[in-house]
Amino acid sequence: MRKAAIVGIGHTVFGNLSDYDLVDVMSFASTNALDDAGIRENRKIIDQVLVANMGGGIINHQTGIASSLVSRIDLEPAMAELVENGPASGASAVKLGYSLIASGMADVVMVTGGELMRAVTGWVATDFVATLLHPEAEYNYGITLPGFGGIFTRMYMERYGLTEEELSLVAVKDHENGSKNPWAHVETICTIEGICNSPDAKVVNNMVADPLRMYHMCPVSDGAATVILCALDSPKMKYFKEKEPILLNGIGSATDTHCLHHRKDPLELTAVRLSAERAYKMAGLKPEDISFAELHDAFIILELAISEEVGFFKRGKAREAIVKGITRINGSLPINTSGGLKAKGHPLGATGVSQIYELVKQLRGEAEKGRQVKNPKHGLSVNFGGFGNNVVTTICSKE
């Protein structure tokens, strides 16, 4: 199978970009990537554009987004398609981009993920995200994704004895990392005292989906991110001389039941485990080879649960890692160095691409001061669709 490298990356700030047009936001990340790759002049070498987006048609009233992006940044006659896989659209698009290269259908693929969720009220955005649930058995009741996060968190706490303070340490870590990331939606730090133990904590950190509080979940964000892939054996690699190519070393995905109640053990994230196994197998790596990771912490309990499913820690033991600081930036296995979805933000279609952007940034040694992992070799990301019913794991490596 052909191998591919990531040869260019781009990003916008995550936050409230509702004054802008969805495709303009995607265009900004895409042109940043063209510049990063050093191919703005030679941009027509791009064979294929894949756009990851979940809600353009529903909340932004825009369709045909991939064709629109191609035209907005003058990439015709490149092939272009939209990829929708809920909150995992981004990594799915990268996976499909890699597949096109592996099959020989394309040599250079641009993948841009973007979402403009703050164009509508939080009430409408929450409803839009909930449309990925089972219409009859879940959505109809008025339950939303944070509700599933709350049910999952309580089950985890009751089985493994995780406390609210231990859980909140994930938020403290992610905010610390996000405060050093210029693209992050939330750039402020928080403390355990402030969000958990002080008399004001219950007011500052209000309940959203018991036992999950506001600081336990990601914000609603706008934003976009881009990666450009090129086949390592392609003559077009000669155009990418400015930055160190980062190998797209392993990528795997898996699905699980649509309804949470169909899972024998709702705490087992089977699709996470299987997607990671597939990615490890493709890369020829094991969990202990990974230097750092970006894990889909839309609800921070997921950082702990996913870190166990991908084999970093045994079940129920991720709490010890967060307490001991193992997953902090200077720990032995830093997790969510970008701030994660918790602090960096979660523009659905952009998230998976943004996670891979962060892997490349770290592997190149370009992360900002205070959040650069020391000598990383392999980075892993998990992009979690639905409530774990479609998951993509990606591994990037220094060549």
Binding site: W123, D127, E136, E138, N140, Y141, G142, G150, C259, H261
Partner: protein, 132 residues
């Protein structure tokens, strides 16, 4: 002239599981293929068999729950409680929880009722409460 009053019958919702005609496996919500034996279900009954509908209600056990304040468009309440339960026949479901201070593992009774009003449509579903 006789007047047909049937259309004015009160709202009496029932939530159904379905039973595979080949192997008898129960499932909720209705799948298009039996997880156990692969038998196809045809909602119209025109090509393949329409499966028997089995009312799903009665005693159940609370497996997990949340009190949710992040509600979607159209629900004008401060919060709602939701639970995941397991019925005596082994089927599981998510539904509205009326118990204000739930405990995981508690015994509940499920009935069907109005769970959401979407303009032009009354949505029926599971409502879980303490027995009696």
């Amino acid at each position: 002239m006789d007047i047909d009053f049937s259309q004015y019958e009160p709202f009496k919702p029932v939530v159904y599981a379905v039973k595979c005609p080949k192997c008898g496996t129960l499932d909720y919500p209705a799948p298009m293929i039996c997880k156990n034996c692969g038998e196809r279900r045809d909602p119209s009954g025109a090509i393949f068999s329409a499966w028997e509908k089995v009312p799903l209600d009665g005693k159940c056990k609370l497996l997990g729950w949340t009190k949710l304040y992040a509600l979607p468009e159209g629900i004008e309440k401060k919060y709602l409680l939701f639970g995941v339960v397991e019925f005596e026949n082994g089927l599981r479901a998510i539904g509205r929880l009326l118990v204000e201070e739930p405990k995981t593992g508690m015994e509940l009774v499920s009935t069907a009722g109005l769970v959401r009003e979407i303009p032009g449509e009354d949505v029926a579903g599971f409502i879980f409460d303490i027995a009696g």
